[in-house]
């Protein structure tokens, strides 16, 4: 059974189309990264999956309709919407008490274990903690939940580089175990490259790229072309071209690696480079999340 399955998922806010009838299927045990500019519909898509917003079209998460069965779905789904959503008045001990009191799959000992590795005090209040510590607390709560699907919407927004690194390290080492599924959106794409198993680009409410990371690495190749081969390289139809230190860097989609090797140094491009090529720079002019 697919973990998430959507057909013709559509959502409009007034005359703005946030989701323009997307189809999507996420199998269990995958780590899917959804990348897109502001206003691409990523957050709306996640909110629909979590039962936070009504939608048109078909959507099933772990076999349930998230809109009508949110509370039951949350037995098996955990999510971090963004780092600032823990209320300021909440104490660490109260957060633990509450989640333990309402969530049948919350393992308090495990959460304590995560917290022991941080500087967070049990009697501390969220309002007195730094952004990074709040993120650590939220992650400790979420990772102690034996969920089948974890959804993270910009979980590292506003965190410094050390916290971000720690965040993804804990997620991979302490949490992910191939029976769980993780869906994550972020702007910090470079940090996700080695983490993801699947990649999806969204732009203006549509999915513009949907592929596994293995396929990504064979499909997209970047060549630092030697000047004498420039014309030959362009003849192969690069999807994008940029200049670096006076040399042309050409990005190819679906061209054979051996063919490219003759033209210059071939390497796997970064997600960000492919993103720029596929989505194009004009999308950034839009701005405004949701």
């Amino acid at each position: 059974m697919a973990c998430i399955e959507a057909r013709g998922l559509r959502k409009t806010f007034g005359r703005t189309v946030a989701l323009d009838g997307i189809d999507l299927r996420v199998e269990e045990g995958r780590i899917l990264g959804i990348i897109g500019p502001n206003g691409a519909g990523k957050t709306t898509a996640l909110q629909a999956m979590l039962g936070l917003t009504p939608f048109q079209g078909e959507l099933s998460v772990l076999g349930r309709d998230p809109w009508t069965e949110r509370d039951r779905l949350m037995h098996d789904v955990a999510f971090i919407a963004d780092v600032a959503v823990l209320p300021r008045w909440l104490r660490v001990s109260q957060a633990m008490d509450y989640v333990e009191g309402v969530h049948p799959r919350f393992d308090r000992a495990r959460a304590e274990e995560f917290l022991a590795k941080t500087d967070i005090r049990r009697d501390g209040k969220v309002g007195q903690m730094s952004k990074g510590m709040v993120a650590q607390l939220h992650l400790a709560l979420v990772m102690a939940i034996d969920a089948r699907l974890l959804v993270l919407d910009e979980p590292t927004l506003g965190l410094d580089i050390l916290y971000r690194k720690q965040f993804y390290d804990s997620l991979l080492n302490d949490y992910f175990d191939h029976s769980r599924t993780i869906v994550v959106t972020t702007h910090q794409v470079e940090e996700l490259q080695d983490v993801l198993t699947d990649l999806m680009f969204m732009d203006r409410g549509r999915i513009v790229l949907d592929c596994g990371m293995e396929a990504f690495e064979t499909r997209f190749l970047e060549v630092m072309v030697r000047p004498e081969h420039a014309a030959a390289a362009r003849a192969l139809g690069p999807v994008h071209e940029r200049q670096l230190f006076g040399r042309g860097i050409l990005l190819f989609d679906g061209v054979d690696r051996r063919e490219l090797a003759a033209l210059g140094d071939v390497r796997t491009p970064g997600i960000a480079d492919v993103f720029v090529a596929v989505v194009g720079s004009q999308a950034h002019a839009q701005g405004g999340e949701r």
Partner: protein, 311 residues
């Protein structure tokens, strides 16, 4: 309250679908949702308690500044007829009024503050239904606050009585006449009844305020008050009547005249048990219509909480 029972049994519904995973621990979503309201809104118990402390302090100060009054007042000297009970009445009344104000403001904030600080995204990430959440919030004015009020009033009156008793003993007078006059246990029984009736009578007010809180993006207090005020003013200007005003007054104060046979002026309102008229208030259609309205408001508030976009 069958929704409450359902809510408590909620996790049981998930048990059958756990499959190979470990059996889930027992959870109590309603209980913990009420607890979290108390964590967030400490005024729920701090306000009635501080008024109680204030009432006791006021009596102490009064006694200390006017020592000549004390013996007569405490012992119910004919020259000070009824004054012994006055401090009990005023203390109790202050706490009751405080409770109503705290409850009203709590309701107005209950569903809008979690949207404003976006913490609703955290609460909704947990397996607690919107119905359970709204029910937990309604439990504060309808269950928790009345109990705290009764406890605060009982504590206030006990404290006042103890202070009076010690003063009388120091002055070399007996305590028995004072105790005999006060009938504290009867007073408390009547108060428990009064508070319960008041809570039921005010339920539609709280339900309405919760609904406004779930609906209004900001300044819920204005959305709750202004439409009624505008209606009242328009009515007064166009027809020179005051139905809206009297309707509001009736909904706020009408319970008292139905729940008690109005006592003569110098009597203690809650004291005589034979002045309770439970038959009259429970037979009143207005009480039941109000409760039905409250239930509708809560159902609508739960629906709104599901539909409202966060932020």
């Amino acid at each position: 309250m069958s929704p409450a029972v359902d809510a408590v049994l909620e996790p049981a519904a998930g048990v059958e679908e756990t499959g190979p995973r470990a059996a889930p621990a027992r959870t109590r979503p309603l209980y913990w949702s009420v607890r979290r309201e108390l964590w967030e809104n400490r005024s729920i118990y701090l306000a009635p308690l501080s008024v109680a402390v204030f009432a006791v302090t006021a009596l102490l100060v009064h006694g200390a500044t006017m020592p000549s009054h004390m013996p007569g007042m405490l012992a119910n000297d004919p020259a000070h007829a009824g004054t012994a009970s006055v401090s009990y009445r005023v203390g109790g009344l202050l706490v009751l009024m405080t409770t109503f104000v705290v409850a009203a403001f709590y309701c107005l904030e209950a569903l809008s503050s979690e949207r404003r600080d976006r913490s609703v995204l955290f609460w909704k990430s947990l397996p607690v239904s919107d119905r359970t959440t709204v029910l937990a919030k309604a439990t504060i004015p309808l269950g928790v606050l009345p109990l705290i009020t009764v406890a605060a009033v009982v504590a206030t009156q006990l404290a006042i009585f103890l202070i009076s008793a010690v003063t009388l003993l120091v002055l070399g007078q007996g305590v028995a006449p004072l105790w005999g006059e006060l009938h504290l246990f009867r007073l408390w029984t009547a108060m428990l009844y009064g508070v319960a009736i008041m809570m039921l009578w005010h339920a539609p007010v709280y339900g309405f305020l919760l609904l406004v809180s779930g609906w209004a993006r900001r300044t819920a207090v204005l959305w709750a008050v202004l439409p009624l005020l505008a209606l009242g003013v328009v009515e007064k200007l166009t027809m020179n009547t005051a139905y809206v005003a009297s309707m509001v007054t009736y909904r706020l104060l009408g319970w008292y005249g139905k729940a008690f046979a109005i006592p003569a002026r110098e009597e203690i309102p809650f004291s005589p048990l034979n002045r309770l008229t439970p038959g009259r208030i429970l037979g009143s259609a207005d009480l039941w219509l109000g409760l039905a309205f409250a239930a509708l408001c809560l159902a609508a508030a739960a629906r709104l909480r599901r539909q409202r976009e966060p932020g």
